[in-house]
Symmetry: C2
Subunit: 133 residues, 2 copies
DNA sequence: CGTCAATATATCGTGACACGACATATTAGC
DNA sequence: GCTAATATGTCGTGTCACGATATATTGACG
């Protein structure tokens, strides 16, 4: 049975996570895309595959089912942020690439996120120790 | 313009957050409630108000609009996890309380979360420093 | 070579969630 | 008492994720 203080510390931790998440959502929405679409761009950009990750690979990176990734790519493609490319060697596969616009938007978002996380670093640093008692 | 390494570090950070979030969702779903409903219970339990927080107060804690909180409380109340109580002094207000079942479920979830966060503490500790370069 | 299982992506219907716009009830100010 | 502000609730919409299902392509193996 947790103590009052433990409930409160856990709530404080989740509140901190929520605040970062909301801040991040707002940054994305200010540029006309959703939180999840931003994460898709980052997953594509951060992928090791030179030809771009497949639908299945980004699904794995985002911890969602492949058909959820299909739908997310549909919406993001309609915004002109990513493009599909059939794998010539295995035409079941579809590789994903950022468009010029997608690359540009992600660069902007990444810059402000790195800045914000440097700002939050001391806070993040303190949180784990709070969880002890 | 961020570097390849910065994109990858940011992706790694988001992946770590996502993994914790997914793990947490699964814990909640194993007990028959959603992620958001769990956060509602925690916000109620961690509130300072002795009579229980109002709809508006939990909305503020969860960083959502008051009418989104209304809907969330509707769904959570249907599961028998929380109850509404009109404030006798100001009958515009509605205070929220955990039912016995809600208290029990939250205690279980809190116990496993405290345990998991203690396990993750060293990882969280390392992350901020990674964000430097 | 042909058949059948495995793999990769896509489609459809459903439910949770959050929102803006709007509605209603109650309290507060003057 | 009349009007502002406050607190909660309703409705229609869009995003996201899912399970169930479908289709196409590749791979394995006799």
């Amino acid at each position: 049975m947790p103590t009052d203080a433990q409930y409160q510390r856990l709530l404080a931790f989740r509140t901190a996570l929520r605040r970062f998440d909301q801040w991040s959502r707002q940054q994305a929405e200010a540029l006309g895309l959703t939180h999840t679409q931003h994460q898709l761009l980052l997953a594509i950009r951060g992928s090791a595959s030179p030809a771009g990750p497949t639908i299945g690979e980004v699904a794995e990176a985002l911890l969602i089912r492949h058909h959820s990734a299909t739908e997310l790519v549909d919406r993001t493609q309609q915004l002109g942020l990513v493009s599909r490319l059939r794998d010539p060697a295995d035409s079941r596969r579809v590789h994903l690439r950022l468009t010029d616009h997608g690359r540009d938007v992600l660069a902007q978002l990444t810059a402000v996120h790195l800045q914000e996380l440097r700002r939050l670093a001391p806070l993040l640093d303190a949180l784990p120790r709070d969880m002890e008692g």
